[in-house]
């Protein structure tokens, strides 16, 4: 061999670095062009700010009941009206953003950690451990995710953390499949073979060569997974198995407003608009990221 081991290694590293620079340059160019993605990012930043500064934004304490102002329609005093106990709906929706974002973040962390570890192990090592993990995924996928999440939330009891665990526990399956498929594809690529030939350890190959190349699909999938997590959490609360009243989670607010839809439409409809707007933000952003980071995936949807 005319090229020394060190030179070959440097060559591989230079190529990888070049790819990353090109990718990041392209990323901003494509991302900036996508107006919907920018709108999505702005919506999400807005919701995050509302969640952080809820005590400043909210004109009233979200839990204080006011029996002189029951079921008031939206007005200047109460921009979103009041609920059946006279609580200010605008303040409740503002505080509710915290639950929604916590659920989104919490679920995504569980899904990303569990899904990556299992997907890596299944894809990289293959064999028996791979079949074991993938058969378990098949079993999980035979039960509708929402049904399984309901059963888990029911078994654990309600509350914010149990909702996050329940949704995270059903969400990792698809992600594991995606990570596994990517690892399988990368494992056979020439630069991995080269790294292995140079004597790199499994850990080094995974950390330095496979993981960086998987960031794009992972980020895209995770962004597009947040909406599902938010919608499922709201559904669990709506069905009475999630965040419990009096906490102003948006799904729980809708459930509470349901009894009054014939004469106080705002209680059920406005928190729903908040959910829709947040989810829309993540969908816009996810679509934009997908087009910018991974044009191959744009074909799939």
């Amino acid at each position: 061999m005319s090229v020394s081991k060190k030179e070959a290694k440097q060559q591989v590293e230079i190529e990888v670095a070049e790819k990353e620079v090109i990718a990041s340059g392209q990323f901003w160019r494509i991302f900036k062009r996508n107006k919907l993605a920018i709108i999505g990012a702005l919506i999400i930043i807005g919701v995050v700010l509302i969640a952080i500064f809820a005590p400043v934004i909210a004109p009233y304490d979200p839990t204080v009941q006011d029996y002189d102002n029951l079921l008031q329609p939206p007005s200047l005093d109460h921009p979103f009206g009041t609920d059946d106990l006279g609580r200010d709906l605008f303040s409740r929706v503002a505080y509710g953003a915290r639950y929604t974002l916590l659920v989104g973040i919490g679920v995504v962390v569980i899904v990303a950690v569990v899904g990556s570890v299992l997907g890596f192990v299944a894809g990289y090592y293959g064999g028996k451990i791979d079949s074991l993990i993938m058969r378990f995924v098949d079993i999980m996928l035979a039960i509708p995710a929402l049904v399984l999440a309901l059963a888990i939330a029911g078994a654990l009891g309600g509350g914010l953390w149990n909702v996050i665990i329940a949704i995270g526990a059903v969400g990792w399956t698809q992600f594991t499949r995606i990570v596994r498929a990517e690892v399988l594809k990368l494992r056979e690529s020439e630069y991995i073979t080269a790294a292995r030939a140079l004597g790199a350890s499994d850990f080094k190959i995974i950390a330095h060569h496979i993981a960086p190349n998987m960031m794009a699909p992972v980020i895209v999938y995770i962004t597009l997974y947040v909406p599902s997590a938010i919608l499922w959490a709201a559904s669990l609360s709506f069905l009475g198995l999630g965040v419990q009243p009096p906490y102003p989670e948006w799904g729980a607010l809708i459930a509470n407003g349901r009894a009054y839809i014939s004469f106080a439409w705002w209680i059920a409809t406005i928190p729903g608009l908040a959910i829709m707007l947040t989810v829309l933000g993540f969908n816009f952003l996810g679509d934009g990221l997908r087009d910018a980071l991974d044009p191959r995936m744009a074909r799939d949807l």
């Binding site: 079993i139 014939s262 729903g272 744009a298």
Partner: protein, 312 residues
């Protein structure tokens, strides 16, 4: 083809076995159902007696095999709350769920296929842009909220359709009008997803050589679009259909709760709340069976549409 069907059908046995183990263990980490049901009303001795009656004093593995053997004989046990047979409870409800999911699926396809084709053929026109943005809004709505909005508009304000419940057999107008809003609620959000899928697939196919060939030999445009392009786009529609079927049954749980539609979903939610674990186990098992069967049908449709799969 026969071999493929056989192999595919046999694969469901281990999956369903896994489902039973999963659900069974899940229901037994949730605490003592007897205590939860009767806790405050009975003495410790009476609770113990209840546990014996229900077979809950035995080791969990023994309980599982006991349940499994009974299940194989078509006996899913008795509800802790109402003492009626779980099979009987499910049988009363499963048809309503199937009615809802079938009509919803039809709505999804009837809306999404024409919209997807038109969107692709008239790409970047006003229709296409509106349909695409509308679709994104549509997939961002929670089902239960959409249902409530429909209810507020069509039942409470316009008084066109009943608010909720069931009015009899669905092939009569009296019964069918109760199903309209629930099935729209369940069927429209996925239609947006299908539309986007059909659109992007059609766009890809329209640029293929064989479509150009079809055009250049003078075929009419609709023959080219429907016969050459759409038939090939159907393969991906069927794939998405397979992926969405669990969602359909999951969404039915919420939709049934919103509209008080007497299907399995409401039974499930009620039973989870009351920790009526024999009913929960039974309903989840039946839903899993429905999902697995639907997936097999989708796989066969797939093999039928795409000969490459049969030969692999």
């Amino acid at each position: 083809m026969f071999q493929y069907i056989l192999r595919r059908t046999l694969l469901i046995i281990p999956i369903l076995l896994g489902v039973t183990i999963l659900v069974f263990s899940l229901m037994h980490i949730s605490g003592d159902p007897v205590k939860l049901t009767y806790g405050t009303n009975l003495t410790a001795d009476m609770l113990q007696q209840k546990r014996q009656e229900l077979g809950l004093d035995k080791p969990i593995v023994e309980q599982y095999f006991h349940w499994l053997i009974n299940a194989l004989h078509g006996d899913l046990g008795l509800s802790i709350r109402t003492h009626s047979g779980v099979i009987q409870l499910i049988n009363e409800r499963v048809w309503a769920t199937l009615e809802l999911t079938t009509i919803a699926l039809l709505i999804t396809l009837v809306v999404s296929i024409p919209a997807g084709i038109i969107s692709a053929v008239k790409r970047y026109t006003f229709f296409d842009q509106v349909a695409r943005i509308f679709a994104l809004f549509w997939v961002s709505m929670p089902y239960f909220w959409l249902g409530l909005i429909f209810m507020i508009i069509f039942s409470i304000n316009l008084k066109l359709l009943p608010v909720s419940g069931r009015g009899g057999a669905i092939w009569t107008w009296e019964g069918f009008k109760y199903l309209i809003l629930p099935s729209l609620t369940l069927g429209l959000p996925p239609a947006a997803l299908f539309m986007r899928m059909i659109r992007s697939n059609m766009l890809e196919i329209i640029n293929e050589d064989y479509v150009r060939t079809a055009r250049s030999k003078g075929l009419k445009e609709y023959t080219v679009v429907l016969k050459h392009a759409f038939r090939n786009a159907l393969i991906s529609v069927v794939t998405l259909l397979g992926l969405r079927i669990p969602w359909l049954f999951g969404g039915a749980v919420i939709t049934e709760t919103v509209f008080a539609w007497p299907g399995m979903g409401r039974l499930l939610v009620d039973s989870i709340m009351k920790r009526d674990y024999p009913v929960v186990q039974g309903v989840v098992l039946v839903i899993a069976i429905l999902v697995v069967i639907s997936n097999i049908i989708v796989d066969f449709a797939y093999a039928f549409l795409d000969p490459r799969i049969r030969y692999n």
